[in-house]
């Protein structure tokens, strides 16, 4: 190892340490920002270090690509609204995976003949995971951005098709390790993986997106890590492993929060809930609707109000009005807390980011385990566009598709006010008995306009 190589490796080591410290800082919201800035420094160091690589002889492509990437990346970082965060994250997985896949293809092309089997194995993993993530993430992006239908797209024999595709891809991979020089198989495998990504995300509905986005996060990381194995670069292996572990952990957490099995997550064979089976007897039940005036009165004279936000709040972009209402209530001496279900919204932590954007202090945001014991003491639980995560059937009705899923015990509070557009069942098509409970009042309308009405009513008191 010559001096130059030694310096580069030392820089990579430093970057790796900075990255790990950066992620560690995320365990504390007060230190997180500084830690991540240090991680960004680590990235800058790694890039500069790489430019001294002995193989690099021309800088025109590099300079142009760096500039172009920055020009595209800057607005994606600075101007994307917080409500669009799920699709923003999904598309970034595509970019990451694309980079890894292209490196894999290029490495294969150059070394096609005389590729050792271990390198071939790494390259195979890289392009397999990479290509699958490219199209999978694009599909997820499309669904979240709603230019592809958010509803599950299913067809007869879908699982058979998916498993066959996957099996064939794995068989091709095996063959490539046996005979690395068969380039036809290599490119066919990439094509198959691209197709697999599409088919994998196609049957997945919007409510299941948190799991998928986390899973793709993990796959993108694994593809990066495999790149590291292929080009023998430790910093790549480390970062890919960090990303892979993080995405993996998040997808486990998310699937637990939805009561789906671990195997379900790993193979991505989830998505089509047995819709419209449970709770059809709800037709005879009555709904108590409430006027904004009454609802405002009840909250204004409450001592504790727990706000339960869901995807409906994000869709209506109502987070700022929520904060405004909470401010008014607090001025009147009401304690306002926020209960956040892990899978509320379309990605892990979605609600937290939106409320933080609306300047809600983070010590007011409570996780499910922390807040559930407090519902019985709450005078009003204000449910804003949340449905499945507050459905008591998950606790009581074994025939319900969401039975066993941990929920926020909203129904146990003294009174519930639900802001909802209409009585149409939620995304998964599951009837929610909370809406018919005697202590529940429904305030119909778009979440944002309902909240605005509530705000003016509270002001008028």
């Amino acid at each position: 190892m010559d001096t130059r190589e030694l310096v580069i490796q030392a820089i990579y080591l430093a970057s790796s340490v900075l990255f790990i410290l950066g992620l560690k800082s995320l365990s504390n919201p007060d230190r997180a920002r500084l830690g991540m800035q240090q991680a960004a420094m680590g990235m800058a160091l790694a890039i500069i270090g790489t430019l001294f690589h002995h193989e690099i002889v021309r800088f025109d492509f590099i300079a142009l690509a760096l500039v172009l990437g920055t020009v595209i990346g800057y607005p994606l970082g600075m101007f994307v609204p917080m409500t669009a965060m799920p699709q923003r994250i999904a598309i970034s997985h595509m970019f990451g995976a694309l980079a890894a896949t292209l490196v894999g293809v290029a490495e294969y092309r150059i070394n096609e003949h005389g590729l050792p089997r271990s390198t071939m194995a790494a390259l195979g993993f890289e392009v397999l995971f990479g290509a699958l993530t490219v199209t999978g993430s694009f599909m997820a992006f499309g669904k979240l951005q709603e230019f592809i239908t958010g509803r599950p797209v299913t067809f007869r024999g879908q699982n058979t098709v998916n498993i066959t595709l996957f099996g064939v891809a794995i068989a091709m991979f095996g063959y490539l390790i046996y005979r690395p020089q068969t380039s036809m198989v290599f490119y066919a495998m990439i094509g198959l993986a691209l197709l697999l990504g599409v088919f994998m995300v196609l049957p997945i509905g919007g409510a299941d997106m948190p799991v998928v986005v986390s899973l793709l996060n993990s796959y993108a990381g694994l593809a990066s890590s495999a790149t590291g194995f292929a080009i023998q670069n430790n910093v790549l292996i480390i970062c890919g492993a960090l990303d892979g572990a993080s995405g993996f952990l998040l997808s486990i957490l998310m699937s637990k929060a939805m009561n789906r099995s671990f195997g379900n997550v790993l193979f991505g064979a989830f998505g089509s809930p047995p819709a419209l089976v449970a709770g059809t007897q709800a037709k005879d039940l009555t709904v108590h609707s409430v006027s904004a005036e009454d609802a405002a009165m009840r909250m204004a004279y409450a001592s504790t109000v727990i706000v339960v936000p869901g995807y409906g709040m994000a869709v209506a972009q109502a987070q700022h009005v929520v904060r405004e209402l909470a401010d008014l209530l607090e001025k009147r001496g009401v304690t306002v807390k926020y209960a956040i279900h892990p899978v509320a919204g379309r990605m892990p932590g979605h609600m937290n980011v939106l409320l933080a954007e609306a300047n809600v202090p983070y010590d007011r945001l409570y996780d499910m385990e922390e807040i559930n014991s407090e519902f019985p003491q709450a005078d009003v639980a204000l449910v804003i566009g949340a449905n499945d995560v507050v459905n008591p059937a998950a606790r009581s009705d074994p025939s319900s598709p969401i039975y066993g899923m941990p929920i926020l015990d909203v129904d146990r509070s003294k009174g519930v006010i639900v802001l909802k557009r209409s009585m149409n069942p939620g995304f998964a098509g599951i009837e929610n008995h909370l809406f018919y409970a005697p202590n529940t009042s429904m305030l119909f309308g778009d979440a944002k306009s309902s909240l605005t009405r509530l705000v003016s009513e509270v002001k008028a008191l």
């Binding site: 790990i20 992620l23 995320l26 007060d30 920002r33 991540m36 991680a39 960004a40 990235m43 790694a46 890039i47 690589h53 690099i56 002889v57 021309r58 492509f61 590099i62 690509a65 760096l66 990437g69 920055t70 595209i72 990346g73 800057y74 994606l76 970082g77 994250i89 970034s92 980079a99 292209l102 490196v103 290029a106 150059i110 790149t227 590291g228 080009i231 430790n234 910093v235 790549l236 492993a241 960090l242 990303d243 892979g244 572990a245 993080s246 995405g247 952990l249 957490l253 504790t304 304690t335 990605m347 892990p348 932590g349 937290n352 980011v353 202090p361 983070y362 010590d363 996780d367 003491q377």
Partner: protein
Amino acid sequence: MTSIIELYVFVLAAFVGYQVITRVPPLLHTPLMSATNAISAISLVGSLVLAGANRDTLSNWLGFIAVVSATINVVGGFLITDRMLKMFRREPKPAPGGALEKKTGGAG
């Protein structure tokens, strides 16, 4: 032999990652995702070599696209993470006693 050492690195890094990330509160799960995404754009170091090496033109072009994609994630990823983390603020008057009272006292 080198690939065995690389396997060691991978396993240990995944282990560290798992330990570190377990401690990240659900509050910050979205920034965590964007942060790991930005960090895994370190694949840029592989792409840079590809774009600048003297192999063949197609390699350079593949490298070019890869560098653009990875740079988008580096720049966009770190910026958006910072933008999010900037928003997470504590209660304006963080007297520890007061905060505690709020948590238990509001219950009745």
